[in-house]
Symmetry: C3
Subunit: 357 residues, 3 copies
């Protein structure tokens, strides 16, 4: 069960090359991405309506995709425009097409009713190409349900335990952080404040703090159903960060899109952007510890999924689960809302009589 | 669901060596092939009736098979002829035996009621050892239902798309071919004629045509439930092939036996035979492109099976599906006919009391 | 379906190092073994009650285990003793603990109701550290139900067929052995006597017999549900072994604990101990053929399991199945007895309200 009427990140822009095809399962659907002659992306169901072969075994030409089995050709809207050997095109011969948008170096895809696709719902994150930010991104295929990744991001007390060798710092500082959770228009926002704490190793590696302890903050924004933006910062302790004096701060802006592949696997698109402190550019390699950090999360949620597969219940809640619980409720509400609507998102079943039938 | 009362190719003859055992799953049954002292093949259920161990863990001696666990011995009819440590042989102690025939370098096995086994139903293909034909064969284990392979063979318009690097030629020539489909006594026959077409690369590699374009023909014979013979030829265009003047033609005789292993896997026995043109023998290596050609088909039907596993329906039919539809109807009719018969093909369930029970 | 109220071998002692954790699935339960500061073993359910992460991703400290996700800490009884960031510990916050005992270099674990754990039921086998016995042990993960291993051990007529290259000797000697099966307090005992038989290769390799043929005996003790002790011996033929004159005998004492991992996989702990003949010590390497012998059994029962998965019935019983049948009946009786008791072996389902709920 997935929320269908939503924008999901389908690919990083550079994963879809001109003339090529990218086949990727999203929310259980096989989706074929390719680019039109004008460079804009297109997305079709990756399954020929004739004999079921994935269209990705065929080829792209003139904004159309031709099946690699018997040559049926489909345009960007999914309409069949050619059946070799016959003039007549069966009315049922079409494949589903998906609305796509390219923003901030990502290709977003709307998996539900095309008529409901609303561009204003795309989450903005314009740091990939900014000269003032150092940027790093990747995609991990995680063997876990996408909500376990959201859970992980909504409760950052895990940082002291899961990431104690990278961005962690002392566990106590995290669990003593002052946390505030509130609903937003499209999700949930959690703010955490860790004053006067020990800087973690990865912070010291990239920033010259002038005090041995630092003030840290984390602003976590969940956009239902599957995007989390995290703005974190750190500054010399007691120098006014809480009051908004952050010019000299170390800033990290994280972006996480946990797009379901199946119920138990997720395309985890993550990126990190760091501000250039005092005009100094820091090489991308300095963000490399993020790869390890996100691998640590991947290990945890995969082990968690395997354990929950075996024994889903019971689970016990604790105080720091507040953000997670609020996020899951938001998704559950969206699912209920969709279940109440009879959405015509699938092409009608077709069994056109064959010419020789 | 398989047609049981039929001959299937169980193995190439050279897969069953004297004194050795070949264990192979056919139609979901574990079958043990071995050779009797006189060289003729035998086939037993590969499962000891005592504790279920596959008999292939034991050994062959004196036309019998002895289980490798506790030594029960079975003769070629499946009757237990010895139980170590006791004189009495429990009446239920027997394994199923299968009728087998060896023809044209293949071992055929009858998977249904032995009383119905009719030798005249074995499809003939005597080219493996003919001095006038160059012959090549192999067996691919295909991760797809056997009928997807039959489908593939019955609609050769796929040749222009799937095999465009090997035997294809121009797709248009294939889809414009004049095609005729008709029922035969044991299956379906499709004839296709492609006059004045561009010769494909693999044809030019083995034959010296005297005209830049050629006349091509294909005669596809389906023998239900799982054998397809294909006779194809090519000749200088306009030199009388259609009228039967084919002495100087390039001839390929293909043989395909798609024996089900399970519902979603198939032992695909294929062979190709090419006539010696004008008395010249051409080395077997010249047929090697067949390995690539059949690999191309394997890739397609495996991708198709995976796609259909996910979403079996809907599918849309087109004109060139005629042969495929006729072949599937023939198999469906055989399945219905068998379902109406209560066939005593399995040994009766047995739970003989143990001596110490 | 497993007998829960029983001691099972969970690990060889040397598999659980001080400060480390051993995670192992037993009877379908994830179990975490570790050692307390005093060296004694402890066992907890390997699943945090908060978010389900296996506790083995965390660490051991001060006789407690701390979860590697959000830091919940559990003591040896499974009680949660700390939740980072909050004073109150939810009453439901606990994990199951298992009674454990360390005996004869093995860690035994009671998988059922802790109140029923009875130390006198632990099977004794004190040969691992005796100076008078050469000892060898290992653990194989076998892809088969544990009862197939018991079956194998209860009917030693298999030795002549499965182990004819190692400990077998002539098959006929085994099937002609005089066998006696009787019920014992905790299981089944089978005695077999093979007078005047050909010594197998592995016997000759370690012992100097003074006669070309030998008298052999085997005493098989099954302790339900999953332990088999086998005492076997061999002596110069006709020198009084049956009457108890065994001082000069070659003695093997085998120990087998087939602890279920799942319904179709088993941790097979096996060991072999051989007496020092006439005061001579024989190096451990001389027992190495045991590794091969037990591998031969592993191959057989795994092939048997795969075959029975496909076709469980019918099976036919023979005379030598007596010990196996008696052992299986004993286990079945224990399962029935447990099914009639409502055992409170699982912690009650918990869904404590979260502080922010």
């Amino acid at each position: 069960m997935f929320v269908r009427n939503a924008w999901y990140v389908g690919a990083w822009s550079d994963e879809i090359a001109a003339g090529a095809m990218l086949s990727r399962t999203l929310l259980g659907d096989p989706v074929l991405f390719y680019r039109l002659a004008d460079g804009s992306p297109a997305a079709l169901a990756d399954r020929c309506c004739h004999r079921g072969l994935p269209l990705s075994h065929g080829r792209v030409q003139d904004d159309c995709v031709t099946c690699g089995y018997h040559g049926l050709t489909f345009d960007r809207t999914g309409a069949c425009v050619r059946v070799p050997g016959q003039e007549r095109i069966p009315p049922a011969a079409r494949v589903r097409s998906y609305p796509v948008r390219e923003r901030d170096n990502m290709v977003w895809v709307w998996m539900g009713d095309p008529a409901s696709a609303d561009d204003t719902l795309i989450v903005s994150h314009p740091f990939a190409q900014s000269p003032e930010w150092t940027f790093l991104k990747d995609r991990y295929l995680v063997q876990a349900n996408y909500q376990l990744i959201t859970d992980n991001l909504m409760d950052l007390t895990h940082v002291g335990y899961v990431h104690n060798r990278t961005i962690g710092g002392t566990p106590q500082a995290h669990s003593e952080a002052v946390s505030r959770t509130r609903a937003t228009e499209h999700g949930v926002r959690v703010e955490r404040w860790m004053p006067d704490s020990v800087p973690p190793p990865s912070y010291i590696a990239v920033h010259e703090f002038r005090t041995p302890r630092i003030d840290r903050w984390m602003e976590i924004e969940f956009f239902a159903p599957a995007v989390v933006r995290i703005h974190t910062g750190a500054m010399d302790t007691g120098t006014g960060a809480r009051e908004g004096l952050r010019d000299d701060a170390l800033l990290f802006w994280g972006f996480n899109a946990q797009t379901p592949e199946t119920e138990t696997t997720t395309h985890y698109f993550w990126s990190g952007a760091r501000s250039h402190v005092a005009g100094r550019s820091i090489g991308e390699q300095r963000l490399d510890s993020l790869r390890i950090t996100f691998s640590e999360d991947k290990d945890i949620v995969e082990a968690q999924q395997a354990s929950l597969n075996r024994q889903p219940e019971p689970l016990v809640m604790i105080a720091s689960d507040g953000g997670m619980v609020a996020a899951r409720r938001r998704v559950a509400a969206m699912l209920r809302a969709e279940a109440e609507t009879v959405a015509p998102v699938e092409p009608a079943p077709a069994s056109a009589p064959a010419a020789l039938d």
